[in-house]
Amino acid sequence: MPWPLAVPAAVGALFLLAPLVGLLVRAPWSGLPRILSDSHVLSALRLSLICATAATAISIVLGVPLAWALARVRVRGISALRALVTLPLVLPPVVGGVALLFALGRRGLIGQYLDHWFGLTLPFTTPGVIVAETFVAMPFLIITVEGAFRGVDRGLEEAASTLGASRLTVFRRVTLPLIAPSLVAGSVLCWARALGEFGATITFAGNFPGVTQTMPLNVYLALESDPEAAIALSLVLLAVSLLVLAGLRDRWLRPTAAS
């Protein structure tokens, strides 16, 4: 490897790995069982897992049809729509949280009617956390799945159609199985992003233990009161991320396994 490539490559790898090593070195290994069995930590972990899973489920239900529309529908403005729905990918999550407040908050554009008609307010509730996480994470699923829809062999779909399958049957029995590996990859990405979501959550859903305090919020706020707990919590999130990465890699190496 020529040195003008090797040196920056090594620096880049070190830069990405050093913080993780720092975390492992500073980890209070002996105090880990005590910290991780704390009821606050367990409730934050449970809340994080529930909310990330719910956000992923919503993203699949809404995101897959949207991805299909973006890939297949030929109308003016569809590319502008694609740009807009994937905006949360690049939008700072805090901005997303502020935007959600003005849309779905108690005095928001839509939120005021939810409050007025149904007595429903999303901020400071667990559904609020799920909404914030879905907003930030769904685009990850959409772009992954949309790419897959574009790559589907249209000949297979047309063959199913000529054999008498309705368009919905074609989608369900032919298209969906073909994109299954991408759907799994997109869902995992979406879930991991939802699990790590911080900015939109603390802005839109606030912070209360057991209700809206997810693991990332717990890590951030624990750093002030109990840095050792913050490190321990970070280790848990690191472990979960590594598991996700390992699982995802497996799927990518054996793409047929998913179907």
Binding site: G105, R106, F124, G206, F208, V211, L221, S225
Partner: protein
């Protein structure tokens, strides 16, 4: 190290003294330049002031006045929860001055060797902030215990959260907030956005918010206060200017700005 330039007709000796104090500041105790007169304009460079979120308005004014009195000095603020700032300072953040909203967070820095001899400079008491329409009809602190009232508080490790807890203990009530915010300004913004029915903040925050919120006073027999200490930090990079800024905050001119914003003398 800062570059020191004597500005205008300042005596050479004064400039040298400031330069020596400034350069030595990073390795030695920061108290030797104490008492430096705020009128000397021999300071230069940047001072990083880490101040409690509740000091945002008052300190921004003080910073501008200090910069006007000392051309060449730039005051940069980091406003956040005192607990967060104490943690940042102890982790080695480049701070020159720390103004905490409680003695507890200052003590954390002192015991870690980051500061010595902090000086109390103001006191602040709590008040209830509600949206201008007061949607939950909050009239006294006891109303905050009602289940239907959505209350925002500070986290318990943040001074405004700890002081609010003292109020609830004195009033013998239990308040279950919908959110525990990271600092007092976040509580205030939740009230300003009308997302909560009430927030417990400092009287100074209600005053600085103007018409965006309405203040509901807490009866003095149940109200609690917190004392704000300030110190130039031991590891300050710009020790001389840091000492001068602290002296300015403690001066009658500084006190009058703070009093005008609703702070009480300690």
């Amino acid at each position: 190290m800062q570059v020191h330039e004597a500005v205008g007709g300042v005596a050479l000796a004064a400039a040298l003294a400031a330069a020596v104090a400034g350069c030595g500041g990073s390795s030695s105790g920061g108290t030797k330049a104490a008492g430096s007169s705020p009128s000397a304009s021999a300071f230069s460079g940047t001072i990083n002031v880490f101040a409690a979120a509740s000091l945002t308005e008052a300190f921004s004014t003080l910073g501008r006045q200090f910069e006007d009195a000392h051309p060449g000095v730039k005051v940069v603020f980091n406003f956040a929860a005192s607990s967060a700032l104490a943690e940042q300072i102890n982790q080695g953040a480049p701070a020159d001055v720390f103004a905490s909203a409680s003695t507890k967070n200052m003590d954390q820095v002192v015991s870690a060797g980051g500061a010595s001899n902090p000086t109390p400079f103001v006191k602040n008491v709590m008040e209830i902030a509600v949206p201008p329409t007061n949607p939950a009809h909050v009239a006294t602190v006891n109303d905050l215990a009602n289940r239907g009232v959505k209350v925002a508080l500070c986290q318990s490790q943040v001074p405004c959260g700890a002081t609010a807890e003292q109020v609830f203990t004195k009033a013998k009530i239990t308040v279950k907030p919908v959110t525990e915010e990271a600092d007092v300004k976040s509580v205030l913004s939740k009230v300003e956005l009308d997302e909560v029915d009430a927030g417990v903040v400092y009287v100074t925050d209600v005053r600085s918010a103007g018409t965006k919120v309405k203040g509901i006073s807490i009866a003095s027999n149940v109200n609690a206060s917190t004392t704000y200490p300030i110190a130039a930090l031991t590891h300050a990079h710009n020790s001389a200017a840091a000492q001068a800024f602290v002296a300015y905050v403690l001066s009658p001119a500084g006190a009058s700005v703070l009093t005008a914003d609703g702070f009480e003398q300690p």
